[in-house]
Subunit: 200 residues, 2 copies
Amino acid sequence: MTKPERPLRADAARNRRLLLEAAAAEFAERGLDASMADIARRAGVAKGTVFAHFATKEELIVATVGHYFAELTALARRLLDAADSGAALLEFLTVACGNQQQHDLAFLQTVTEGDSEVTRLRNELHESIGALVDRAREAGAVRPDIIGTDIFLLICAPVHAVGFLAKPDPDLWRRYLAIIFDGLRPEGASPLPHPAPTWP
Amino acid sequence: MTKPERPLRADAARNRRLLLEAAAAEFAERGLDASMADIARRAGVAKGTVFAHFATKEELIVATVGHYFAELTALARRLLDAADSGAALLEFLTVACGNQQQHDLAFLQTVTEGDSEVTRLRNELHESIGALVDRAREAGAVRPDIIGTDIFLLICAPVHAVGFLAKPDPDLWRRYLAIIFDGLRPEGASPLPHPAPTWP
DNA sequence: CCAGAACATGACCTCTCGGTCAAGTTGCTA
DNA sequence: TAGCAACTTGACCGAGAGGTCATGTTCTGG
């Protein structure tokens, strides 16, 4: 359902893009309660047009979260070539958190469990992060008992933590990313009380 | 609005307690979308009874999250007498996460911003955590650049991280609490890239 | 440039939600 | 135990949600 067989008409393609942008913005601001009507208004189209492109609200969420995963995957793959693998992992987390600070869409993924397309993109992201973490671990940049899934789960922690403040400094998440990253280093690591999670 | 002037009638007091329990359970399961009707059904009363006790949904949320804060505050104060202040802080985080794993109500606090009663209880919790952290810092159990507000913000991180897994092991959060707590230790701490947040 | 397919529109449907209230029921006190 | 205030009940309301569709508009290939 990602790419239609026949190419879209020019105006339809434009509207689809506007809708996805509006959806990302509305979901980030209002959470799951963002209404289809508001998304349509923000995109500058009528309500019916939204449903012409995405049959249900869930389908729109799927498209939005899919795009979100794909972006992170591309970032992770780009960083696989970096010379310093430890710095590459930190860079990945930093850019991912920065994205999330602007547009927090991570919560959407809980709604899309069961969708095959999202699952595929999610697995791709997981795999890319796994490769990034493996390199960092082999280089001794992170503790040996950490795996890719751990990082996958911890990506959102810094931004989420900051969210409990009413008017947080937009860069405060960097503080918590640094703390968590210190917890990932091999120096002074205490034994973990629970085995690594299995995927999925 | 916490304590009524006149004591409640026996049946009313019982219903109020049942309602708060039902609300906590429903909010934890369904999030903010939990409906007043479902909460009423779960408590075994009619819908009108809910509104007889809590005039609006927000008022019910306020009562629920207030109770949540009060519990954590009591826990923090209890631990202030512990011999090992570092272990006491870890114990606080462990019990808090364990609570949250059963009943995740932390997200409710974002809705109740502006309510004076919740703000008071929230400040009390913040203060209690501050005392706990101060003791741990003076004992050299946590790095010197950490303050109580940091811990306040990080409480929910381990459970939240685990939430991205579809069917997570109910104890997996202990792994991420251990990682984050390692990041809080003085050994091998790197300089933090952002100053501590101000309260509130 | 025009015919017709592709697309956009907004009034309309149904359903569920938070919230109200007159009428009935129950616990407490004198 | 009688009587009244306190409490409960469930039918009801308006608002707003997701979703539909007949009609009107616009792009595009020939």
